[in-house]
């Protein structure tokens, strides 16, 4: 009788968890990029009406660091949003790395308002935003708004 309860509970949990595997359909809800979970990006989205050169530069500089796994960035004429993933073992020094990168970015791009984050969600969102920039009907104002939203999200504490 107790074995059955145990078995039942295990089956319920397995079924429940497998429900999360339906990535295709459920993805609608928030994040739409393709090749999204892969951490290697080769920047094949070429936005044509907003110059992303600054962003490319920033991302390349950050990615070049030894302790960074991956980085992605988006910019408008005034704002620069940089998101990166710290290598696992270096996460111990997260605070220190964040400070360094912030300083580095402010030094490199003094004319931009910098938003930088090592958070995984912010990374995903930045990637998504980058994808959107290539679309029609997308302009700088929308990018600006999105960056603002992402900045607010990155500052949430609880």
């Amino acid at each position: 009788m107790s074995m059955r309860k145990w078995l039942f509970a295990t089956i319920v949990i397995c079924v429940w968890i497998s429900g999360c595997a339906k990535e295709r359909e459920v993805k609608q809800q928030s994040l739409q990029g393709s090749g999204f979970m892969k951490t290697n990006t080769n920047g094949d989205m070429q936005p044509d009406h907003i110059n992303q050169q600054t962003a490319e530069q920033a991302a390349a500089r950050i990615k070049a660091r030894e302790d960074i796994k991956d980085a992605v960035a988006v910019n408008t004429s005034k704002k620069l949003l940089v998101a990166y993933q710290i290598k696992h073992m270096h996460r111990f020094y997260r605070k220190q790395i964040e400070k360094e990168i912030d300083r580095q970015l402010m030094h490199l791009f003094p004319n931009y308002q910098i938003v930088s984050s090592s958070d995984l969600k912010i990374f995903w969102k930045t990637k998504e935003l980058r994808g959107k920039i290539g679309n029609k009907d997308w302009n700088e104002k929308k990018t600006d708004q999105q960056i603002e939203k992402i900045r607010q999200l990155s500052e949430e504490r609880t």
């Binding site: 309860k5 145990w6 958070d119 969600k121 999200l153 609880t158």
Partner: protein, 159 residues
Amino acid sequence: MANEKRKRLTSTQQEYHLFEKERETKRPVAKNCVRAFLVGGLICAVGQAISYFYMYFFDFTEQTVGNPTVATMVFLSMIFTGLGVYDRIAQFAGAGSAVPVTGFGNAVISAAIEHRTEGFVLGVGANMFKLAGSVILFGTFAAFVVALVKTVATKWGGL
């Protein structure tokens, strides 16, 4: 005082203690450690999976995903405790299931279930924190002490 009394056992009693120690089944400490490690790790892996779930499908960042994750883990612990399965996992895993937040949930929930028969106010309400009360009290107190130490250290030590 009673502790001193225990040390002043008569020689017959001390002899018996040794006699008894030789014959009692010892806890299999090594085996228990391995089991605790595996089950504790598994529970944490489940927690991580739940975190990713919330980050992927909802607007939670790494900073904020802790709340719904813990809530979900405690909810799961409630299901398992209610189904009568958690104590079996615990007999196998020991600390592996008692240390994560699911163990805390189990302590509160099992006490609540048990005292349902005495009514909600005097039974459930009064007895729910029978086991977890110490955790809450000393956890809060320890946090206070540590925060105090940190404040003093930063103000004066420049750390």
